[in-house]
């Protein structure tokens, strides 16, 4: 009986939290900005902090994942005498799946956790309260620029990840394993379509950006303003963000590429 009661109360708490999160997102997105110049100034600062500072981890990860993919792909394709198709395999895998998914997972770990911790610490040190008491809405000043910066940066980082991954794969496949450069690029060009593969990958990255950044800013704003509370909120951001990316990926892949 107690377990049923526990499941019921946990479900209700989760639903209530989801509802609060929805209202929070609505209020963040639909408010009048003070002025365009102030919006851009705050946004550029956040794009630097969320996006530019994430470039190193994205580029290095993309490079190594592209190189590993080329190695693995070559080993398997060579068994069927199709090693020339490694470029095709590399591009489709990166653009459709690994680019958006791995970038979003890295983004959740690097940028979103920092967003939660930063907002949580602002709450704990009464900086959010002081904004409110000054008549400055924290949704406009703190939350919205961070959320929008996440929506802009993640799709761009995903493109950078895929591009660097393809270059890394080319380095291994053409430069090291001796695949002909012309075949590598021409097969890739023949099989990759902008409207389906590239655009769908960007749409996926955008959906992941909404989910992870929303979770990050909401967890930061709602966290208990103590060191343990901020720690728990940061962990929740990474765990919930990663799980939502993987679940969304399945749904989006089924909708975009499923043949049913």
């Amino acid at each position: 009986m107690k377990s049923i009661q526990y499941i019921g109360s946990a479900s209700l708490a989760w639903l209530a939290s989801f509802g609060r999160g929805g209202l929070f997102l609505f209020q963040v997105m639909f408010h009048k900005p003070k002025s365009l110049s102030s919006v851009f100034s705050l946004l550029f600062k956040q794009i630097y902090s969320v996006g530019v500072l994430s470039l190193v981890i994205i580029i290095v990860s993309g490079l190594f994942i592209g190189m590993v993919l080329a190695l693995q792909g070559y080993t398997i394709l060579a068994q069927f005498g199709s090693e020339q198709a490694v470029g095709q395999l590399l591009a489709l895998t990166l653009l459709r799946e690994l680019g958006p998914v791995v970038t979003a997972l890295l983004f959740a770990g690097r940028a979103c956790s920092a967003l939660t911790a930063e907002i949580g610490l602002m709450k704990a040190t009464e900086q959010l309260s002081s904004l409110e008491m000054m008549g400055v809405d924290p949704y406009r000043r703190i939350i919205a620029p961070r959320f929008i910066a996440g929506l802009i940066c993640l799709p761009i980082l995903s493109i950078v990840f895929s591009a660097v991954g393809i270059l890394g794969g080319e380095f291994v496949a053409v430069g090291w394993l001796g695949i002909h450069g012309g075949s590598f690029w021409s097969l890739m060009q023949q099989s990759v379509f902008f409207s389906t593969d590239v655009v769908n990958g960007i749409i996926k990255a955008f959906c992941f950006a909404i989910a992870t950044t929303w979770i990050a800013v909401f967890q930061g704003y709602e966290c208990e303003p103590t060191s343990e509370g901020i720690g728990r909120a940061t962990t929740r951001t990474v765990v919930l963000g990663s799980l939502s990316i993987l679940a969304l990926d399945f749904i989006l892949t089924a909708a975009m590429f499923g043949d049913f």
Partner: protein
């Protein structure tokens, strides 16, 4: 037209089952300094948050400049707050910008002043709290007392109609404290600022306050001018002003019997391991 800038009527506020305020009424007159005093844990900071609309009372009304704060929409609440400056206990300076930008923050948010004018205003405010030379320092480079003085400069940067000071004298050396006391008084006299002063510092608070409320156990136990409070015969007021450990105001938070709680028995013979 009421002469009260803040008018709290029959307000109750609970945290869980614990009553922080039970049906209290407090009036903060316009252009005067009102000190709110009382033992730790009485909910003095909570009262400031209720006035500022950061907390909602369970019952009763809180009128701020004629507007009933708990019933305002989010948009109207933010409009009303533009009339308020607040000094937080922790200072609550923005840690990513320097002292100058912290003080300039409300000016940039709520006015169309040019940077030239903002610079002059900020330096004047910083001069008044003795921190003009620290304008370019980051909050992390300030001592606790300096951070609170910088926050004080930010609280009255816009010359708001109401300033709420939460423990403005805490952590200040005697010279700084004297300056802050004089500054609060001067702001009140020169621009007619309404001030709410939450403090434990009995002598300094009474020296500048026009009216004093003493809170304890969720109720107003005494109110009046500083002189009336000093002359009060109420045991609770005498205990609080004199800092006496024994009296009707308990030093200890509500708790079970000490001996039972510690599992102490006279013939137990227990010893430390």
């Amino acid at each position: 037209m009421s002469n009260n800038f803040v008018d709290i009527q029959n307000m109750s506020f609970y945290r869980g089952d614990r009553a922080i305020y039970k049906d209290i009424s407090i009036q903060i007159p316009k252009g005067k300094i009102t000190a709110i005093m009382g033992p730790s844990g009485t909910g003095k900071t909570t009262l400031l948050r209720l006035i500022g609309g950061q907390l909602k009372p369970d019952s009763g009304d809180i009128f701020l400049d004629g507007k009933n704060v708990p019933y305002l929409s989010r948009k109207d609440l933010y409009l009303v707050r533009k009339k308020i400056g607040m000094l937080f206990q922790s200072g609550a300076l923005f840690t990513d910008i320097n002292v100058f930008d912290n003080v300039a923050f409300p000016l940039r948010e709520h006015t169309d002043f040019s940077e030239e004018i903002i610079k002059d205003i900020v330096l004047m405010k910083l001069q008044s709290v003795g921190l003009r030379g620290a304008a370019q320092l980051m909050p992390s480079e300030l001592s606790g007392g300096m951070a609170r003085r910088a926050a004080l400069a930010r609280a009255f940067a816009l010359d708001p109609e109401l300033v709420m000071y939460d423990e403005p004298f805490a952590g200040q050396d005697p010279i700084s404290k004297g300056v802050v006391v004089a500054l609060i008084k001067r702001l009140n006299e020169s621009v007619g600022m309404t001030s709410v002063l939450v403090s434990h510092d009995v002598s300094d608070s009474l020296s500048i306050a026009d009216y004093v409320y003493i809170l304890s156990g969720g109720n107003v136990v005494a109110k009046g001018t500083s002189e009336e409070i000093r002359q009060s015969n109420d045991e609770r007021v005498i205990q609080f002003l004199g800092g006496l450990p024994d009296g009707p105001v308990p030093f200890h938070f509500d708790a079970a019997d000490y001996q039972l709680d510690m599992n102490m028995h006279v013939n137990d013979g227990g010893r430390l391991k």
